[in-house]
């Protein structure tokens, strides 16, 4: 645990202005940060020797309808060298949910971000091709938001 905590402490040291919280549940670490320097932070996590999270396993969002801030962007990074998963979470306000795209850091983020845009309506600034990916382009609304009904729309 001491070793993994060092990821959090290093982020806290290098990005003190965006670091919010460190959580651990069932041996999985979560670091919550502000959206402001997300690209810088992700580049650091990818390239820093000893961390080398060169693989973006997953990118998604969660809608906490009743809470503020409403949205949480969730990144799952994986390091083949260290064989470990790291979860980065970024809270976003309901009014204007946008965040910088990480497609320039990992190409795989392209479709993940499009899906997130499609189903949650999160805007990824700097994404090369931000269109709906799973749903028809003329659909209104974003179905995975909690205020979107399951049926009867």
């Amino acid at each position: 645990m001491a070793e993994t905590n060092s990821v959090a402490s290093r982020i806290k040291q290098i990005f003190p202005d965006v670091f919010l919280e460190y959580q651990s549940f069932r041996d999985q670490e979560t670091i919550i940060v502000k959206r402001d320097r997300i690209k810088e932070l992700m580049t650091f996590l990818r390239d820093e020797p000893g961390l080398e999270f060169r693989y973006l396993a997953d990118l998604t969002a969660v809608d906490y309808l009743q809470k503020r801030p409403r949205f949480m962007i969730v990144y799952h990074l994986y390091s083949h060298k260290e064989k470990r998963i790291l979860r980065i979470k970024v809270p976003l306000e309901e009014e204007d949910p946008y965040i910088d795209s990480v497609t320039s850091i990992w190409s795989t983020a392209n479709w993940h971000e499009r899906e997130c845009f499609d189903l949650f309506g999160i805007r990824f600034v700097g994404h090369p091709d931000l269109r709906r990916i799973l749903l028809p382009s003329d659909l209104e609304g974003h179905p995975l938001r909690k205020d979107y009904p399951v049926e009867g729309r």
């Binding site: 969660v62 990992w106 190409s107 392209n110 899906e115 709906r132 990916i133 799973l134 399951v150």
Partner: protein, 390 residues
């Protein structure tokens, strides 16, 4: 006058070699692909949204239908994620049986891939051979839970029931004869001149590109990165078994073919070890909050009856928290990210499917190649559109 503009061509959504409803918008310069843009979503069923309305056990049949060629592999990913949230570990016997089922699923999925992939490229015979063996595995699945494609055999906290009589004997028979049958397929393809011409150097992904595009499973191993979640982040009891992780060198279609062929052999070896080492004991965790009481107790004991009623009517209460659990599904990394709010229904389920991520590398692999190579490249990714669209 010579015309020089490029041409647009739609491949799919109804096209036999796209393995479902995949549409690829192609920009062609003669026969050379300038740009290939996959268009997906034709099979989107909103499984993630549906799961938010269902109790954890009711989600299980939905997971079968994510990658319908590897139903049990999806069940496994989901139950492992929920078990991690609950903080429980199933008994050794259940783990071994899960390994047997998961590896049979891998073989059957790879056999299906082999048959259709070879068929797409023009070799018809492997399809018949592969389906002959796949049918035997389907029969085995039918034995354990009465259904072929959607076994739905796993339960949170264990299994639906113990293995039926005669299963182990038949399973043993299959894994003993299977390596010989792989030789049949290899005799048809591995040194086949046409097969080599159609697959070598086609759809190359370098290790850097493989990481950048986030591909997993045989795709990343074909590019020479030895990464198998069964070894890197062991779940169930995979550390008990000896097996090799095959890797390729060139990251092309041919190498991925070799990797998958070897994976089938290794799966058979794992099953053999699991059958030999299969321990006795319970198949469900002893936890009334998770496992249904035995049926005879429900009829005779009021507490068991209440417990049964609550588990069925209300469901399993899962503590608040979130986990991401990834497993090595036949097609690559299958990840379940589950957020629980402490009730009987998941607050959010994100299914990170291997096909969705792997398919994204299609454009990268196809651009600059001939149109006919695209068919080989779609085949080598081993996609199931239900797995892509969810």
């Amino acid at each position: 006058m010579v015309r020089q503009e490029t041409m647009y061509l739609n491949l799919g959504p109804q096209h036999p070699s796209t393995h479902g409803v995949l549409r690829v918008l192609l920009e062609l310069d003669g026969e050379v692909i300038v740009r290939a843009t996959p268009d997906i979503g034709y099979l989107h069923r909103g499984i993630e949204k549906l799961m938010e309305q269902k109790t954890y056990h009711q989600c299980l049949p939905l997971t079968d239908r994510i990658d319908y060629l590897a139903g049990s592999a999806n069940n496994l990913g989901f139950v492992l994620a929920v078990e991690k949230l609950l903080g429980i570990e199933v008994p050794k016997r259940a783990q071994y049986i899960r390994v047997i089922v998961a590896e049979f699923t891998r073989i059957s999925s790879h056999l299906f891939w082999l048959g259709t992939h070879a068929h797409d490229i023009g070799a018809m015979t492997p399809l018949f051979y592969a389906f002959r063996e796949r049918e035997q595995i389907m029969d085995l699945f039918e034995m354990i839970n009465g259904s072929r494609l959607f076994p739905n055999y796993l339960r949170i906290g264990g299994l639906a029931q113990d293995l039926p009589e005669g299963f182990l004997y038949k399973a043993r028979e299959f894994v003993d004869s299977f390596p010989e049958q792989i030789k049949d397929y290899e005799a048809l393809l591995t040194k086949n001149r046409i097969w080599i011409e159609r697959t070598k150097g086609v759809g190359v992904l370098t290790p850097e590109e493989a990481l950048d595009y986030g591909v997993s499973g045989p795709m990343i191993r074909g590019s020479g990165i030895e990464w198998d979640i069964r070894r890197a982040d062991p779940y169930l009891c995979y550390e008990d078994f000896d097996f090799e992780i095959p890797t390729g060198q060139n990251g092309d279609t041919y190498d991925r073919y070799l990797v998958r062929m070897e994976e089938m052999r290794q799966s058979a070896i794992i099953i053999k070890q699991a059958i030999e080492g299969l321990p006795d004991g319970d198949i469900n965790v002893e936890d009334p909050a998770v496992t249904l009481p035995p049926k005879e107790k429900v009829y005779t004991n009021i507490e068991a009856l209440i417990n049964h009623f609550l588990l069925i009517q209300k469901g399993i209460v899962v503590p608040e928290g979130e986990v991401y659990v990834h497993t090595e599904a036949p097609k690559g990394e299958l990840g379940f990210y589950i957020v629980s709010d402490g009730t009987t229904k998941p607050y959010r389920v994100k299914i990170r499917t291997p096909s969705f991520v792997n398919l994204q590398s299609l454009s990268k692999m196809a651009e600059g190649r001939l149109l006919s190579d695209l068919i080989a490249i779609i085949g080598t990714i081993d996609i199931v559109l239900a797995d892509v669209d969810r």
